[in-house]
Amino acid sequence: MRRAHLALLIGVLALAACGGETPSSDADTPPPTTAQATVTGVVTDSAGLPVSDALVQPRSLDTPPHPVPELAVLSDQQGRYTWHLTPGRYEFTATKDNRTGPPVEAAAEAGRTDELDLRLP
């Protein structure tokens, strides 16, 4: 009888642990496990001065394109922004006060950090 109970318990646990979408929270603090690409850089104006609070947006250039998370990524006081993305080719633009700079391309690789500065007109 005890063996039967044990077998049932193991069965339940095995099924519950077979992957998928079990809840997680910051109380669990699992380490990040997926290899993303990082693109970071500084947004500057035509005088070369850093621009804060510019909205920096990537666009996937791959076919098919990678959908891009719709986070608001704004440059900080030093003009610096950072995006973590699925590896691939992207085009980045910075926008502020109705000014949009020219798009700049980056080939983002998993586990690597690429520097990509952006310019506002």
């Binding site: 109970h5 979408e21 079990t22 109380a27 609070d53 947006q57």
Partner: protein, 321 residues
């Protein structure tokens, strides 16, 4: 004798749990290559849902309106003019954002003290002492905000613990419901371990019960196609200086784990409720009923998208309440 009876009961309970779990696997794994989605703290509701077929949900609650004192709900007062870094541009298509599909058809929501505007939540993130617009969320209980998984957990850096603030019904530089912080950030292993965009949803249990006055959205799941169902996305796009904007379209492609639509959105809209309006008395959910969590700009099929609320996801987030 007592031992035998007790042993029989334990056996019965285990067998029931096993059968329920098997039932859930067969229900939830249809069209779900990543496997079963189980909630740990909501086992009973999962089993109940597994017995139901087709559609199940909960209606929203419209709340009581503007409180005389937000601190009565555990929220912090936020003075008008409180500075959150962001900016405003007149139209999103001025800067060629892909997720503005065609012309920019977004409309500003002003004031934000009616429902569901007051249950729509501006999420900010503070880094190096500077608070900036980050995402959107939606109330789904007195103390629960739901949003995209990537708004609470970054695949490279981990949880945004201690960095996020939640402002229900924020309106430019006015914050009629104050702000709350998170007691617990929540997501699921499909996102935090696998990084699967189809599982990119999460939430935050707040240190306040402001939902009692803002109200909260309803939600439902269905196994049927949702093609043609109207979709409204209401939230805080990054080009609109903490103002709330909305646009209505419809489900264009109905995947088993993801919905695709042509609502106009911009970075900052992540985590918005993708909802439809259902008539009073509709089964499962009536009023403002969420179908998905907005998460991504234009993908391979030319539409914006977000993880669909499925049966197991519904059970999981209800368990967070």
């Amino acid at each position: 004798m007592n031992i035998q009876r007790s042993s029989r009961r334990v056996g019965l309970a285990l067998a029931s749990a096993l059968l329920a779990t098997i039932g859930l696997v067969s229900t939830a794994s249809a069209g779900t290559p990543k496997g079963v989605e189980l909630g740990s703290s909501d086992t009973e509701s999962v089993v109940t849902a597994a017995r139901t077929s087709g559609l199940r949900g909960v209606s929203g609650y419209e709340g009581t309106g503007v409180p005389t004192d937000v601190t009565a709900y555990g929220a912090q007062r936020v003075p008008a003019g409180h500075k959150i870094q962001g900016y405003s541009s007149p139209t999103g298509d001025d800067f060629g954002v892909q997720s503005i599909i065609g012309a920019d058809n977004r409309v500003r929501v002003n004031p934000t003290t009616s429902f569901p505007a007051r249950a729509t939540v501006l999420i900010t993130r503070t880094v190096s002492g500077v608070e900036r617009l980050h995402c959107t969320g939606w109330m789904f209980g007195a103390s629960l905000v739901l949003t995209a998984g990537h708004c609470v957990y970054n695949q490279s850096t981990g949880w945004y613990t201690g960095q996020l603030k939640f402002y229900p019904g924020a309106n430019g530089t006015s914050y009629p419901y104050g702000s709350c912080t998170a007691a617990t950030l929540r997501s699921n292993t499909g996102w935090t371990t696998d990084g699967n965009p189809d599982a990119d949803y999460g939430g935050a249990s707040l240190n306040c019960s402001i939902g009692n006055t803002t109200g909260w959205y309803g939600a439902y799941w269905t196994t049927a196609s949702l093609n043609g169902t109207s979709t409204t996305i209401q939230g805080y796009p990054g080009d609109k200086a903490q103002q709330q904007w909305t646009h209505t379209d419809q489900v264009r492609v109905s995947g088993s784990l993801r919905l695709y639509y042509a609502n106009d959105t911009v970075g900052g809209n992540s985590g918005s409720s993708v909802h439809t309006v259902r008539a009073t008395g509709s089964s499962g959910c009536s009023g403002r009923c969420s179908l998905a969590f907005h998460a991504y700009g234009v993908g391979s099929n030319g539409y914006n998208s977000g993880p669909r609320i499925t049966e197991s996801r519904f059970n999981l987030v209800v368990g967070w309440r």
